[in-house]
Structures are given as C-alpha cells and as structure tokens.
Assembly symmetry: C2
Homo-oligomer: 186 residues x 2
Amino acid sequence: MKNDDVLGVAMAAYWQGDPADVSVNAITQMAGISKPSLYREFGSEDGLKLAVLDRYAAQVLSEMFVILQGGHGLRATLDAMIDFASDDPRMETGCLFYKMRAGKHRLGPLTRARVEQIDAAGQAAYAAFLQSRRDAGEGIGGLPVDVAAEYLGEQIALAITRRAAGEDAARIRVMLTLALSVLERP
Amino acid sequence: MKNDDVLGVAMAAYWQGDPADVSVNAITQMAGISKPSLYREFGSEDGLKLAVLDRYAAQVLSEMFVILQGGHGLRATLDAMIDFASDDPRMETGCLFYKMRAGKHRLGPLTRARVEQIDAAGQAAYAAFLQSRRDAGEGIGGLPVDVAAEYLGEQIALAITRRAAGEDAARIRVMLTLALSVLERP
DNA sequence: ATAATTAAATACCATTCGGTAACAAAATGT
DNA sequence: ACATTTTGTTACCGAATGGTATTTAATTAT
C-alpha cells in the first residue's frame, strides 16, 4: 500500500461513515501503514482531510459542475441533477463534501477553508446556470437568482443527505422533484 | 445549583452547540457540580441526554404539536409553522431535537430510541394534520399524505438547521415559504 | 563492500473522554 | 446524643485521541 492507495482508503472511510468519526489510527490500520508514514505524507489530520477533499472534488463534485455547465435547458438540467442525487450509486452513502460541510466546526482550518471555498464555487455555479436560463427566457419561479441558487443547492444537499440516512431512493426522487418544481414556474 | 438547574444548564449547552461536542466534564463545570453528583442523578451520559431531550420535548416541541393540532386551515397552520421556524428567537441556535437526530449515531441507546420515537410522533402529527386538511377539501399538492408529511417535516427541519448555521432569517422564510407552496396546490 | 541517506516502524507522550472507588460532610431518624 | 443514610468531593481508572522522538530497515552513493 502506498501514497495514492492511502488517499483512496481514507476517502472511502470518510465517505462511508462520518469524517469526524474516523480516526487517523483507524485509517493507518485500514491502509496497512504506520502512523508516522501517514504524518510524513500529509502533515496532520487536517492535511489528510484536505487532500481527500481535493481528490473527492476532482473525482466526484466535478460531475455536478459538468451537468450545470452542459448548456442544456432548465428541465433537462434539473432532471439530470435529480438523477444524480436520487439514483447515482456513488451517492448511496451520501456526499463526502456535504458530510464535511455539515460537520464544519469539527474540521481543521485547512479543510474548513476548502469546504467554504467549494461551497462558494457551487453556489456560483448554480447561480450562473440559473442566470443563463433566465436570460434564455425560462422562468425560475420569479425568484432572485441568488435565492433560487441557494434553494436549489440546499434541496440537492437535503436529498443526498437523506439518502445517506438510508431513505428510499424512489421516495427521495419524488420529494426532490416536488421541491424543484417551483423553479419551473413563470 | 441543584437538580433542575443542572438539566437547564445541560439543555442550554447541548442546544447552543452540538450535543456530541459537549462533554459531561464541561457540563459539570458549567453547572458547578462534581461529576459523581451528575452520575448519581442521571446514571450515564445517555441518561442525561435523555432527560434533557424529554425536557426539551415538553418545553419546546410541544408547541409545534399545538400548532399542528390547532384545527386551523392549511394556509394558517403552514404560516404558523413558517413563523416558528423562521422567526422564533428560540430557534436562533437551531432545534436541539434536530441536532440530536442529525447526529443520531453518536447517541447512546436510550436517547437514540427516544429520538426515533419523537420523530415518529412528529411524522404522525404531520400526517394527521394533512389528512384532516384533505378531508376538509383542501388540496395538498395531489400527494399521498405520508409523502407530503415527510416533505413538510424535512423542509421545516432544513429551515431550522440552516438557521443554526447563521443564515439570515428573512432569507430562510422566503425559501421555506417557497418549498411549502407546493402543498397549497390542488 | 561500505558509508551516508532516506524510509518505515515501534514505542511512546500529553490530553481528553466516560465512568467509578474511596472518602468527607451534612442531613435525618431514633 | 448517637447512628444511619444521603449528598457531595477528590482522586483516580482504562481507553482512545492526535501527534512525535527514537530506532530499525532499506536504498543509494561512493
């Protein structure tokens, strides 16, 4: 087991459970390496979590940005987001980013800063998407773009978080579709 | 400082922050009592949290049930719920019950069982309310009652949780009103 | 082959956690 | 007045945490 494998093991562990409930001891054990090796590679628990989050962002969150920037219509894009949140098998145990965001106060300064940065980027991406749809003449519920963007982001987060809690995927789809239907009004 | 004061101190501490981040040591210190005193009174950390949750349910959650069982119309009841979630000063730091539910896996068996029990009672109350409104001829978005009940409960929880995260109250009101507007359709 | 350097592991540190045993003080019953 | 029970405190326990100093093993350089 080496470098990248350790990151993979850590990401899986954080992602599967709650990042705050997985100790560095547990990770070294799972990865089959010693604790000083991990600390030489990542500096601290905070450094490890930051590296994991960056990997997760590049590997998973990027897909959400791709969907938003695909240039498709409001309906098609929202449907794609609903599909991702409700049915993508990788979201079965929730979203690592949302888990970290929910327990932000338990993170070290490096990871917390990155969480806030990614959160802001997400909000901006939602807003840019909605602005482009409004410019294209599609109604977004008559809402200010930033409000609609935050609403959209929070509903997606809620759906994925409930999925991590073991809620039935079909039911989540129904409720998320319902929540987002308000964005498809004039 | 005695018995009930300790409960009050513990409730305030758990409510203000995150129940999982407040140690029994911290509580004894805040309450100005020794640790064995606390353990003699409540048996364990789990017992203390259970007592706090019961007190919170009787003192705060009961108001939500009162609103739901007030026998008023759909619009009036939802507005009252929106008021409570968005503007009641006691929800400024969030809802202790929702905080415990969010960190359910970190609770002891007694408290976790009570959380699940209260959660089920809440769901039932939402469902009974919606069923009564539908029976009275008011539309609830054409949804099955249990789905609408869960949707309503989750949107309330989301609003209050966001409030604990420091989000602006007016903005939360807008978003919650938006989310619940789907229940006022035929 | 041997010396210098890098990598890894063992064994440890201080702190905090929930929880308790042993003991002192105060109230209560007789 | 004395014995008993309750109430509270100090001081401790074992386990787990994040993090390191020290030592051993494996490279690499000469």
